[in-house]
Symmetry: C2
Subunit: 428 residues, 2 copies
């Protein structure tokens, strides 16, 4: 008999079926016992009256893997309106050792460190797995939106000969006796690949030896990177980002409806045109001094409130960040070269995406590095490529875990990461 999933039971009322999954919960009443089986699709209720079957169920602790054959019976009081009656119950492995928290309670009551220490079982809780399902759907939407617009997926090196972007926060390793570093981003590679495909994206791990222990930082996270050529300026990049975000949320709605329901979430709307303010204007709105070089978290919160109040939007672009606070490859605003063609996207008052137009002329790279007092040599393989013809281009990067945390309202990115890596955590 073919196994069916719990979600298919409603289509088999009256039939004998086989299900399999984990013992999620047992409720041993006087005259009847209920066995709740959890599988990939959800929960199924099994009603046990036979004393021998009941004895078997009593010997199977929570999380034991079982197979149940029974008859599907309609019962309006059961979950999804159906239950399995007159079952036979067969374990598919030895009795499980229950984890140090109850997976059947609506919320995991264990502390986050305990959950992370026991990730293989904590992730089985419906709230934890729901966040990862939303994450998977968001990535699928990211790719679908970009595939539909002629982007090509790339895979780039995660070990590099010199540290990218800045010398700080890099992990050093021994590469066959030579010093090497874990890549902090695919920034240089995605730009070089614009010369090949014009439009590229990558989904992959990036590594930051972040010495701070915060709720927002991971030492490894999943970066959703995009780069496109033949742009007029950063606004063409912002338009692609808007389409990409809309695609991500549409795919979350389409693929992860059950996960959204589990977490009680309503997805935000992406406006047809996301409101945008220049950095200097943003400072005024946030009530910050006009000479601030960057936006503090409190400023971002004020801007988020303003965007919701004035534009009914959860999203807000801030453009024209001062050049001093952006990386050396950032393209300046030609009309106002102290400010950049770089932008941030705020979501509900927090920075979600950073992007912008990049330099595309070889001489501009040499000048930008010289102006910062940085040598060219560590960047040679990257900078040299701009001698061979690169179009005006730009791009952006979305941190997947932050995106999901903000979407789900998780207070800590570790709640939406399967096996987080940070200053303290290298296992499991």
């Amino acid at each position: 008999m073919q196994r069916i999933l719990s979600s298919q039971l409603t289509h088999h009322v009256g039939a004998t079926v086989r299900i399999a999954g984990w013992v999620h919960r047992r409720r041993l009443l006087k005259s009847v016992a209920f066995l709740i089986v959890r599988d990939a699709a959800g929960l199924a209720q099994v009603v046990v009256t036979d004393p021998a079957v009941r004895a078997a169920v009593e010997s199977l602790p929570e999380e034991t893997v079982v197979e149940v054959v029974g008859t599907v019976v309609a019962n309006a009081t059961a979950p999804a309106g159906v239950e399995l009656a007159e079952p036979t119950v067969r374990p598919l492995g030895p009795p499980a050792v229950p984890p140090p928290f109850d997976l059947y309670r609506p919320a995991l009551t264990a502390t986050l460190p305990t959950q992370l220490d026991h990730a293989p079982t904590a992730l089985r809780h419906p709230t934890r797995s729901a966040a990862l399902r939303i994450s998977a759907a968001a990535v699928a939407g990211f790719r679908a939106a970009l595939d539909a617009r002629g982007f090509v997926e790339i895979h780039t090196p995660k070990v590099v000969a010199s540290s990218t972007e800045s010398g700080a926060n890099v992990f050093a390793l021994d590469w066959f006796g030579r010093p090497a570093y874990l890549a902090q981003s695919p920034q240089f590679y995605k730009q070089l690949m614009v010369g090949v495909f014009e439009r590229v994206y990558e989904v992959g791990p990036v590594f930051r030896a972040e010495p701070h222990d915060t709720v927002r930082h991971l030492a490894q996270y999943t970066s959703l990177d995009v780069e496109l050529g033949f742009v007029a300026d950063h606004r063409d990049v912002m338009a692609v980002l808007r389409e990409t975000l809309a695609g991500m949320l549409a795919e979350v709605a389409a693929r992860a409806g059950g996960a959204l329901a589990t977490l009680g979430l309503t997805l935000p709307e992406v406006p047809a045109e996301i409101p945008a303010v220049h950095f200097t204007e943003a400072l005024k709105i946030a009530g910050a001094p006009a000479d601030e070089p960057d936006l503090a978290p409190a400023h971002e919160r004020a801007l988020g409130e303003w965007a919701l109040r004035e534009h009914g939007s959860d999203f807000l672009f801030v453009t024209g960040y001062p050049m001093a606070k952006r990386p050396f490859y950032t393209h300046p605003d030609p009309a106002r070269p102290t400010h950049s063609n770089g932008f941030d996207l705020l979501f509900r008052g927090m920075e979600l995406v950073t992007g912008g137009q990049r330099l595309h002329r070889h001489e501009d790279y040499l000048a930008a590095l010289a102006a910062r007092g940085e040598p060219v040599e560590p960047y040679a393989g990257y900078v040299d490529a701009f001698r061979h013809g690169m179009p005006p281009h730009g791009g952006f990067a979305i941190g997947l875990e932050r995106f999901v945390a903000r979407l789900t309202g998780a207070a800590n990115v570790r709640e939406v990461t399967a096996f987080p890596r940070d200053l303290h955590r290298l296992t499991p």
Copy 2:
């Protein structure tokens, strides 16, 4: 005027259009000059008769980025039957320095090391970019096939506290003062996630400190990993692999038709049922001694010829490899415990995929490690999870670069890798 791609020119005969791309080639004849522009979609021919425009074109070396506005004219002798006449040509950047090889020739004549040293420009050659387009399409097909079958995409740590699978060939790094290693595979994590989602996959980098300099090995490659629970045995895994391969090839056909044409390739057929032979039978077919513990490359070639001759198949499963040659988490064949429920998939006489059923009982892990004289401690976080209820499960891993190399007939995996990493190469 909106830019259009070269592939759209045929829809605009008689109209004035704007294209942009790289100067692919210039042919300066006496009375006329031809400018071939390369963009993401292919090549466009521009006919120049005006002396001033000709002078401009003469000053723009190959690989300079240009924008051309002109009238689309039908010309049966031009590529795709159209060309641009009476053009204006405007550079979008400074004149390019041409790379040390001609990108307009049908094949790149530079040696592979030269190509790899100059990857940002070498990858612009249509044969090199075609392989990467096939790669992107294959990965898209991999995901689509698995998404349709209820698999969930995961992202797992690439830095681990102890080396996985074997102590050899690992890269060591300094993790905030603690020793750590680059992950050789997501094997343990994908198994643990079967406990959460039943069916999972991951596309990500894996790292092997492979000290041999061969045409088949990279120190970083992209692994397509799959794991699924509630299997009867390895044959359920093989069935999913067959469907996944068929999905990959279907997506290559659908998305990368132009790339296949560029490389002159015909895709193999995946039989509805891929023929399978047991390891002991495989030894006989290959004419190998009955006590051989593994298949040598010559044996695999003989088996590939046999599969084509006897079954008309480019693919052949070999099942039941001796336990001694498989990793400790391999599930033995219950009827013949010296042999495993592990398999390899051969493609045209070369190993393409390794997979099998895994152990799922905690006590079996302890016994397997003890039998090999290995301590449990380095594997504790992994092995302990099996106390908490894991279903019978199995999976497989496809090396993306090897898959594409075999599909395209590339002699060296580096030919189908954008920026390879190996014993000698850490740049660009």
